[in-house]
């Protein structure tokens, strides 16, 4: 573990890790479409499939950071398109509030992205991933958090 921590702080070897929570019906299908349509996008993104963006508990994001994510993305259906009618509306409230909480606590909000990508937006997915990957590369490793993996108060 200590070894790992030093790995991740070594910028030369560092590869960004993006955790993406995608809803099954729109964004996951959109990502799928991007694949089928042969839209290339960076491999830094690791997709976790969920039924709905409304399924995302903000603690998933904290969990992801704890596990070494440099950036977390939650993506769902466009408003009004939710397969479950309103899951994305609930997600929108919660996740935007969560981002405010992060911001207030000094947890860099640029490390957390929300997007709406429909099943038809393979191209958008591809460009979105490119965009955020470029951004996270520019930001560098999420050191504030990676440092924490070495321990807390008494260590």
């Amino acid at each position: 573990m200590i070894q790992q921590a030093s790995d991740s702080t070594d910028n030369s070897k560092w590869q960004p890790r993006i955790v993406a929570f995608l809803c099954n019906w729109c964004s996951y299908a959109g990502a799928d479409l991007a694949g089928m349509s042969r839209f290339a996008y960076p491999a830094a993104i690791k997709i976790v499939r969920l039924p709905c963006s409304g399924r995302v508990d903000p603690m998933f994001i904290i969990k992801s950071f704890e596990q070494g994510a440099d950036l977390v993305l939650v993506s769902g259906c466009h408003p009004g398109d939710c397969h479950y009618t309103s899951g994305n509306y609930h997600a929108r409230r919660k996740l935007l509030a969560f981002r405010e909480l992060m911001t207030f606590l000094g947890i860099d909000p640029r490390r957390f992205k929300i997007s709406w990508v429909s099943a038809a937006e393979g191209a958008k997915w591809s460009s979105l991933v490119k965009e955020i990957t470029a951004e996270v590369i520019a930001l560098g490793p999420f050191e504030n958090y990676s440092k924490l993996r070495a321990g807390g108060i008494a260590e």
């Binding site: 573990m1 108060i153 008494a154 260590e155």
Partner: protein
């Protein structure tokens, strides 16, 4: 361990500026110096210092007790990692061998509390994590000059000038000088390190009289009642307002309950020991869902019983040093002294008065 006692306690007179010299000397010797510093206005905490300037001298007691230096709030017991071949590599040694530490300025009650911790961590099993740190720690205790309103050390066998478990007990004087009472070899070593700064006190030098801390109850009487009052309604009454927040236990210099958890992901992890608290409902909750201490009454009772009955029965001493932190920290005004005096009244057959 601090079991070796000097045959004769020796008094030294330290000159003005002794503290600065002591800190400089110790830091120069690569020793980690822990001392009270004011972290927030009115809040004093024992923490590592780089110079003597930050050391706070005028305070009642540190917010967190001394115990946290020897029994940290969380510590790694072992680490493990899955190897590429599928084997698991386990490191069960303490992460690093502890540095020598000198704690300057803890209060006598906090220091005296270590006796209880020593007994627990060195009882049926020698806890290397604890004892390693305990060995390497020298305790230069500052005698109390201004006890706080909630202090009741004298009721539990202590005193503002209690030297128990201290290596050196320091009596600060107004002019910056101090009387150093050496209580152990470690203490002697410390005084030696000071060189000229500390000279043997002139014969006949007298220790100042301790400030008054009124004795509030007799622990024996309390125990006497506790011995036969496990089922008493008193516990339900006294615990009514208790929210089980745990602040009392966490701040207690003698409380030592802990929980061991694994924090891991799929390929590596740590086993940690964290403070725990008998006031929390989860503390005794079984995996089955059964909780032998199902309510706040039984948990409150446990806390009092443990300190004033079980611990004395097992280790021959009360697990309370009268620092008063529990009462100060309680946000619903639960007052340990009131509870104990109430118990004492009951022990004497008196009426139930305000708990």
């Amino acid at each position: 361990m601090n079991s070796a006692k000097v045959d004769e306690q020796t008094l030294y007179q330290a000159a003005t500026g002794w503290l600065k010299s002591a800190v400089d000397i110790l830091l120069g010797a690569g020793v980690e110096v822990i001392a009270p510093i004011e972290t927030d206005p009115g809040v004093v905490e024992l923490a590592a210092v780089n110079s003597s300037e930050a050391v706070a001298l005028d305070y009642v007691n540190a917010r967190l007790p001394l115990k946290r230096l020897l029994f940290p709030v969380t510590e790694v017991l072992l680490e493990y990692e899955k190897q590429s071949d599928g084997d698991v590599d386990v490191k069960s040694e303490p992460a690093a061998s502890p540095k020598d530490v000198v704690v300057i300025g803890a209060r006598p009650c906090d220091v005296a509390a270590l006796e209880a911790l020593d007994k627990v961590f060195h009882w049926d099993y020698d806890d290397v994590h604890y004892s390693g740190r305990r060995e390497g720690t020298t305790l230069i205790t500052f005698a109390c000059t201004k006890p706080g309103p909630q202090c009741f050390c004298t009721s539990v066998g202590g005193s503002p000038h209690n030297s128990a478990q201290s290596d050196v007990l320091v009596f600060l004087e107004d002019d910056g000088r101090a009387l150093l009472q050496v209580c152990s070899d470690k203490g002697a070593k410390f005084v030696d390190q000071l060189g000229d700064v500390a000279k043997p006190a002139p014969a006949g030098s007298k220790l100042p009289a301790p400030p008054e801390v009124k004795a509030r109850f007799e622990p024996e009487k309390v125990k006497q009642w506790l011995d036969e009052s496990f089922e008493d309604d008193f516990w339900a009454d006294v615990s009514l307002k208790c929210l089980g927040c745990g602040a009392c236990s966490y701040l207690c210099p003698t409380c030592h309950c802990f929980d061991i958890v694994d924090e891991a992901n799929w390929h590596s992890g740590q086993r940690r020991r964290n403070w725990d608290c008998c006031s929390h409902p989860m503390f005794t909750k079984h995996a089955s869902g059964h909780n032998p201490r199902p309510d706040q009454a039984s948990r409150c009772r446990q806390r009092v019983m443990h300190k004033f009955k079980y611990f004395p029965e097992r280790f021959g001493q009360i697990a309370c040093v009268g620092c008063g932190r529990c009462t100060r920290a309680c946000c619903v005004g639960q007052n340990l002294v009131s509870i104990l005096t109430d118990i004492e009244t009951r022990a004497k057959g008196g009426a139930n008065c305000d708990a």
